[in-house]
Structure formats: C-alpha cells, structure tokens
C-alpha cells in the first residue's frame, strides 16, 4: 500500500495506515512524497508479486497520469480508489468526476459506485476482476457526497471474502532467482527473442490489452453474479437499472448522480411520468451491448454528467451515442453537465430536466446541445 494524502481521499489513506500500524491489516504501508511515486511503488510491488492498493483524488490522480499508462501497459492487477474531486485550476476540493473521466483512455477498468455499501463490495470484486484479466481497476466514488456521508454498511465476513477472493497468485514474479527484463524498448516490428521465438511487438501488446478489455466485460458481469450469490448483494454488473421495464424517459449517469436520478424517478412516477434509470457502473470497458438493451424502449434519454470533454459534450454522452449508433435506438439524448466543483445536485432538479424532456417530445426537433444544470453566468 502506498498513498499520498489528498482531500477528500485523506480519511481513507489515514484509516488504512492506522490499520497497518495496529496490525489489523497485514500490509506494508509505503510513505511516498507524491502520487507519481505512490503508483510507481504499486507497480514495483505488483511486479514482484504483491497485492497492492492505493487511492487518490483530483490533481493527485493527474500527477499519476504517466504511471497509470505504465501500470496498464505492464498488465498489473493494481486496484486504486479514486475519490472523485474537481480538478484545478481554479482550486476546488469538492466533488465532480473530471479527474477520473479525463483518465478514461489510460487502459484502466473504471467502476463508479453509487453508495457506500457498493464501494466496499466493489473493491473486493475489483481484485478478483483485475487478477483474472490483468488490467488495473479504478474504483471511483464521489468525494464528500459519498466519502464523507456516513451510512449503514455491512462489513463482509473475512472468511467469506477469502473464499470469494483467494490469495493472489501472479503468473509471473520478478525475483533475483529469475532475472528478466521487463518493459524494454520494443520496435515497430515483431522480433525474435534470444531463444529464437518470434515475440509480440508494441502494437501486438496494445492489441492484447484491448482484447483483454473485451474479455473483461464478461468477467465483470460474472464476478458481480458470484458476489451476489456469496454475499446476497447485487450492485449490477456493467450497468444497473431502476424501473426501466416500462420507462419512456430514461435517465443515466455514473456514481451518486445516478442515485439522485433514482429519487427523481420516484418523484416523476408519482406524477404519472414513466421514468427510469440506467446507472453506468462500468465506464471502461464501455457496456455497449447492455446500454443498447437498456435504452431500446426509451422515448427520451437524459445523460447527467459531472465532467465535460471541453469543446464537445460529456464523454459519457458521446460514448452512449456511439454505442446506440446504427442499432435502431433513435431516442433523443439530452446531455446535462451537472454538479461541477461540488455544486449540489438535487433530485428535484433532475426531475425538472425530465419534465422538460417530456415536453420536448411533443413535436420538437432534437437539438444537439449540452445544457449546464443550475449554472448561471453574467
């Protein structure tokens, strides 16, 4: 375990270090001078066969950026929590998801949690997923709104966890008895190794990482199913749904904003509007087939996002549109950027956006524009 404290991750790293110091957690806690080093320690420790953990937020995650690519390229099953926080400048310690969403293409699996029970359960699942597909997993949850809100959580039984997640047995362990060169320079072409075996080039290794992501979809869904069988809690595999069976208006988002959409759905249903929620639990690998199924009957879709891809729209909205392209799902998709820098997102605001989307269904042409929820300039 190696971590550098940053708000709102700090309480997590502090309590874990206390567990280590008190002997409750059999781990070595490596103190580092920054997040780049924290990830480097995790990469090194994982390479010699350790199960590793780190956590960060915001600019700390961005400081790791180069090593995030390195961890994924090295195919190390590292698990990290990203306690989502807005990115400076200007400084904000408050929640949004610009930090992890902007790291979408670093080769990490990203899972977004909607409540505190899902966080603890997902971390256990994350190791089982990472150690099967050899892809690092980022478990993301909203800073302050989840990290600093106390709620009842069932702590899974230790023996039950060990049965679900046996000790890590790496396929390769770097050791002085078996010296190897790892991640040396590769050329644009394939090459024979000293034993005369034709080996993958850089491009083949990139292809294999992408192929592992394709496999990861099944592994994530299977892991969730196995977890639900063992522990009796089903958080959804790649996505989760709420009242979507007959929903005409389907709201979607990642993390706690999707939980707020569930509360908004209850409000809209009470008014007779057939609303529902598709929670995007896994952002990478993108649940392309799941979203096509989940949105197939939608008349209107609202994508709420706590991040923006500057110069276009929310990244989730773009990915959603790409997944639905050519599938016959032609419902208008309304994109909302919401809750940046900790601006509170309330169920009544999401419900109001839902009512507007319903009103727009009556004979209005769909405009491809992103709205900013509860944001007033000038």
């Amino acid at each position: 375990m190696a971590a550098y404290p940053i708000t709102p991750q700090a309480s997590l790293s502090e309590i874990l270090s206390r567990y280590v110091e008190g002997g409750e957690l059999k781990a070595e806690y490596v103190r580092v001078e920054g997040e780049h080093s924290a990830m480097t320690v995790c990469i090194s420790a994982s390479t010699v066969g350790a199960r590793v953990f780190t956590a960060t937020s915001s600019n700390g995650l961005l400081y790791m950026h180069e090593q995030l690519h390195w961890a994924a390229g090295s195919r190390l099953p590292i698990v990290m929590c990203c306690v989502n926080r807005g990115v400076g400048a200007p400084w904000s310690i408050f929640n949004d998801q610009q930090d992890s969403v902007s790291q979408r293409d670093t080769g990490w699996i990203q899972i977004y949690c909607r409540d505190n029970q899902e966080i603890i359960d997902t971390i256990i699942q994350a190791y089982r997923i990472a150690e099967q597909v050899y892809i690092p997993v980022m478990v993301c949850y909203d800073g302050f709104v989840l990290s600093h809100t106390m709620m009842p959580v069932h702590i899974p039984d230790h023996e039950q966890v060990r049965r679900f997640l046996p000790p890590y047995k790496p396929h390769t362990i770097l050791s002085p008895e078996d010296p190897r060169t790892i991640n040396s320079v590769l050329f644009p072409w394939r090459r024979e190794n000293p034993q005369g075996v034709l080996c993958d080039g850089y491009m083949e290794m990139r292809y294999k990482l992408q192929a592992a992501f394709e496999t990861a979809r099944t592994v994530i869904a299977d892991t969730n199913r196995a977890f639900a069988e063992s522990f009796g809690r089903d958080h959804g595999g790649l996505i989760w749904t709420y009242m979507t069976d007959d929903a005409e208006l389907v709201m979607t988002g990642m993390g706690s904003i999707a939980a707020e959409a569930v509360a908004a759905t209850d409000m809209l249903r009470a008014e007779g509007i057939k609303a529902g929620v598709v929670g995007i639990r896994v952002f990478r690998p993108f649940p392309k087939d799941d979203v096509v199924r989940a949105f197939s009957r939608a008349h209107a879709i609202l994508a709420f996002e706590k991040a923006i891809s500057y110069g276009y729209e929310g990244a989730l909205c773009s990915d959603l549109k790409a997944a639905l392209y050519g599938t016959g799902v032609n419902a208008p998709i309304h994109n909302y950027v919401a809750g940046l820098g900790g601006r509170d997102v309330k169920p009544r605001e999401l419900a109001e956006a839902g009512r507007n989307a319903v009103a727009l269904l009556e004979g209005q042409t769909m405009k491809n524009e992103t709205r900013w929820l509860n944001c007033y300039t000038g």
Binding site: F94, M151, P152, D344, P347
Partner: protein, 192 residues
C-alpha cells in the same frame, strides 16, 4: 417517511459527531435509512458550521444537501444571529435550542415548535467539559429525543457506546438523560 435534521453550531463543539450519533442511534431504533454528513469542505474551530442527519423507514438514495429541514438543532445560541436557521427549516418544523432562556424570551417568529434546554448548564453541572468548555453536543441528543419522539433514550445509550469509549459513553449518557428531563417544548399553537 423521511425526517431531515440540520445541526447548527461552531467548529469544535462536536456538531458532526452529534449528527453521527443520532444516525447510529436511529439505526438501532429500527430506521432502515440513516445518513449523516458534515458540511462538505474545510472546517475551522469556532466558525459557524452545520451537519445533517437523515432518518427514514426506507433506505435513503439521495446524498444531496438538505434544503429545508424538518428539525433544526442549535448547539450554540450565538450562531442564531449569524446563520439563517429558520430559512432552512420547514414551516411547522421543530427547532431545538441550547439556551437558558424560554421560547418566549427568544422571541422567535414563524410557525415552529420550539424546544429549549440549557445544555451548557447541564454539562457544567455534570462536569462534562472538554478544554474548559461544556460538552453540548450529547445533551442536545436528549433534547432531540424529548422534542421529536423519534429515537428512544436507550437507543442513544447504545449509540453513544458505538462512538466513544465506555466510560465516556456513561458520563455523556447521564447528560443526555438530564437534558431529556429538562427540555421544555412550546408547540407552535401556544406561541404568539
């Protein structure tokens, strides 16, 4: 049904801990949904701050901030002139104030039930002091129990034990029980 509580006080008075103990005790009482949250962001000793507790029969889905609470608890009466406590309280709601004064003396306008208790006085009497200041957060839990009837005293006793060492839980519970006995409730109909 959901009950939303906002705690008002100053940094260092245990506002956040009180919100947590209430959530813990309400869970022991049998409420399925309980959450507690501090004011998100940095906190400074002595500066006005709030914390919140939600209590519900059903699991709670929202983690958004409470706009207007059903119940406001004021640990420090000196924040009343600084913070808009009643602007964040629903009409017909309950406000529970740590004060040696009566509801009439406080001249509160608006349609609220007012509960008063001298939590600072109780803490001083029982020598429940930290760094020279009376501990007011736990006695206010007793006033909460009396004014709302939502959580029984024995649940607070168990809740305290989960949040602090046993000896401190005993001394704090004595203050909770005393505050329960001495809380004066003035329903909104009886105020002019």
């Amino acid at each position: 049904m959901m009950h939303e509580v906002i705690w008002h006080g100053r940094g260092g008075q245990g506002v956040v801990l009180a919100a947590q103990i209430l959530a813990e005790s309400a869970y022991i009482q049998g409420f399925r949904g309980v959450t507690s949250a501090p004011t998100f962001g940095p906190e400074r000793r002595g500066a006005p701050l709030t914390a919140s507790t939600r209590i519900s029969d059903e699991p709670i889905r929202t983690v958004s901030q409470i706009e207007r609470a059903d119940i406001a608890v004021v640990l420090d009466p000196t924040v009343m002139g600084i913070v808009d406590i009643f602007g964040r309280l629903k009409e017909g709601g309950v406000v529970i104030i740590n004060t040696p004064h009566t509801a009439d003396e406080l001249s509160i306008n608006g349609c609220f039930t007012v509960a008063t208790v001298d939590a600072s006085g109780i803490a001083r009497q029982q020598r429940l002091m930290v760094a020279g200041a009376p501990v007011v957060n736990t006695p206010m839990l007793g006033a909460f129990a009396r004014a709302t009837g939502l959580v029984a005293l024995n649940c607070f006793e168990k809740g305290l034990k989960k949040k602090m060492p046993a000896d401190r839980a005993v001394s704090n519970f004595a203050a909770v029980a005393a505050a329960y006995d001495r809380t004066v409730i003035t329903p909104k109909e009886e105020r002019d």
